[in-house]
Symmetry: C2
């Protein structure tokens, strides 16, 4: 058995505690796997006085991150504090000091991944981040190793459990958005301030990480067109179901002729699509490789234990390399410069719900706006009128059309005096 591998944790919240617990319970098994014991030497937290639900000697807990980063007995730093700063600074410091890093931080990897991976490569250090996307579902490792022979055509994913839970409730119980959100908050699936999840930012971070790996090109979160779920109504789910579709928040990155499509938005998915069947807090990622065809990975995308499982997988890989003195060999490097496509270059079918004045001639005016912009209508359905407000609802499905043209038509429609609002605008993902 080799010399112990020393670990320093930055952060000791639910994930950090889960890691400490697993190392305590399964330490001997892990030691047999890697050839040496793995020992937690220090854990840096904001408030060392706070009681912790983790089997860790309180003497190891410190507020002093620098001392942890300077400790020569620590070869591996596990960053589970989250957020861009100061996590970014700590991870840089750790790599510069020649320490390997495991991180569960999607925001960090989405915003600073390529830069940090380049630094890691330069120092011969590992920087692993399986836990940053999809909790305990292996996703990063398959992309960086198991699917390496493939040219990836697309990544389509349900990667935010909070929104998937909310959308599932809205679909299955006809719940309204506010109602479903409140329920998710009550169960701890949504945070008191849910912005990050419901506006799609969390999913965009994760998509940036996956797409950067899958396509070997830099995809920054701000390049990803991101739309949230807050404007959906229970009726949209009903109307979509009538047409054979479900509504899901889907993150998509897809190689097209002229570049990369990258988007997070609620979309209509045909009910027979594999992702259409992923309900509740489950996550699923569908990757199409040119050799493998479609491969799907599904599981719990969050939670202390699934995330700890991913952190420990990375830690064991590194510990084994430390024991055998193997420097990091492979690291991400860009292979291509793929431009991110704008609405000019994207075509879809669209679902549009418009609230209009309940009187003759309205449909003709809407149809004209669409037609003038070369958007052709595949189906129209006029829904029950609201007699009090003298409004009616029109649900329109278009044929394939250029997204910029549809957006222009919708802007014109919104200006029509007979239109109260363009209530919903969703792409059909196919």
């Amino acid at each position: 058995m080799g010399e112990a591998v020393g670990v320093g944790l930055i952060g000791l919240g639910v994930v950090g505690s889960g890691v400490v617990r697993a190392l305590a319970e399964r330490g001997e098994y892990f030691a047999r796997q890697v050839g040496a014991p793995i020992v937690v030497r220090r854990a840096a937290v904001r408030d060392p006085a706070k009681p912790r639900n983790a089997p860790i000697d309180p003497a190891l807990i410190t507020a002093d991150v620098d001392s942890l980063l300077a400790d020569p007995a620590i070869q591996v730093v596990i960053e589970v504090m989250g957020g861009e700063e100061p996590a970014h600074r700590y991870v840089r410091q750790a790599l510069e000091a020649g320490k390997h890093v495991v991180t569960a931080n999607k925001e960090l990897m989405a915003k600073r991944g390529p830069e940090l991976l380049a630094l890691a490569r330069e120092r011969g250090c590992y920087l692993l981040f399986e836990a940053s996307v999809g909790g305990g579902i292996p996703l990063i490792a398959p992309l960086r190793r198991d699917l390496l022979a493939n040219r990836i055509a697309s990544v389509r994913a349900i990667i935010n459990g909070t929104t998937n839970y909310i959308l599932t409730r809205m679909a299955q119980e006809g719940a309204d958005y506010a109602e479903a959100l409140a329920e998710a908050q009550r169960l701890g699936y949504a945070e008191p301030d849910p912005t990050n999840d419901v506006e799609g930012y969390d999913a965009a971070y994760k998509l940036a990480v996956l797409a950067t790996l899958a396509f070997r090109t830099r995809v920054a979160p701000e390049q990803i067109r991101t739309e949230g779920i807050t404007r959906l109504s229970a009726r949209d789910f009903l109307y979509a179901a009538e047409l054979g579709y479900v509504i899901k928040l889907v993150a998509v990155a897809e190689r097209r002729d002229r570049g990369l499509l990258a988007r997070v938005a609620p979309v209509l998915l045909h009910r027979d699509e594999p992702l259409a069947k992923v309900d509740g807090v489950y996550n699923a990622v569908q990757i199409v490789g040119d050799l493998t065809g479609m491969v799907l990975f599904e599981g719990r995308g969050a939670g202390a234990e699934p995330t700890a499982s991913a952190v420990i997988a990375d830690l064991l890989e590194i510990a084994e390399a430390v024991v055998h003195r193997v420097p990091n060999r492979a690291a991400w490097s860009p292979e291509e410069e793929l431009p991110i496509l704008g609405p000019e270059e994207i075509e879809n079918r669209y679902y549009i719900r418009v609230t209009v004045a309940d009187r003759p001639g309205v449909l003709a005016r809407l149809a004209k706006c669409l037609g003038d912009n070369d958007v052709s209508i595949a189906a129209v359905n006029q829904k029950e009128a609201n007699e009090d407000q003298q409004t009616a609802e029109l649900v329109i499905m278009t044929h394939r059309a250029r997204e910029s043209a549809v957006l222009k038509a919708l802007a014109e429609i919104a200006e029509l005096p007979v239109v109260s609002e363009v209530s919903t605008f969703l792409r059909v993902e196919e």
Copy 2:
């Protein structure tokens, strides 16, 4: 860029040709990934005169496996010939000569895996076998690395595309077994002699490989209770659907208190189960870890290109290690001796279809046989009688019961003079 990594192929059928093709088309990209070019030095085949659909210099093709195994310029042997012997002998020889091995051979790994892995470890050589199960779906790597922090509770899998295609046709079109098999043969999904697939042997090999890895205990194919799909009739799918179930050939290995359940058999799956939705030639493997919870992997389980994707992933891992002179560090070793449970120790609910004489008192006699053996009936449905033959069908769902008791009751029922045959006996997988 390092010195070239030399590869020798044993077998140049569809998978071998797929590997050669991908190496030819993507050689430069792979070289950048591993730090050295990968060069095919020789391919050993039974009939070197046969025309090949692969971009390989005919001068490299030989019938002489020994010369390939003796070639010092070959560091990695790819075995894609299939079958136990002589593949076993060749792989042993390769490892004994200090060569790394990639194999796609499920029969070999199921029957000889632990022995060969021990030899590989002893010689510091890699023996990788991602392609042996599930084509291009990453399964072996997740079990050997990504899920390593978990204690695995169960592996449930649809891992034979031929039978899944046949069962899907029977379910969706009311096709009979013979009809669906003929269709599968016509499309090339089933072989002229389909025994290996339809009797469940292929699935049992793959389950042996997965279970051996997942539970770190030796599971030999002959320890797996294996039942095929040949006795199912279109009516079983209809009756199952009425009860809310689909019928799938499922391979299961599950940790129970007193040992391991290991079985391949057609079972009733509730239609909401993830595996119930896996149709056609798709494969899916559902692994439950104590930290991750359920994780599902789905994709095309066979075919030249998906399988080549898996072979190349293994090859790249080894090539990188060769370039950096990293000997194999981890290798499978048994952690536990888990006994394989017999029918005495297994409980399920059961679906039973019995063809009986169409006259009064028959149900009472069947019910007595079951009751005498402590098997309690949850539901009975008498189906339309066949007036010509004066027979009727009884479909029985039992409550949870010990499997040995059910088997005993069925043996007694089969002996009753009023019973023509026990037509179907299926477990409910839950």
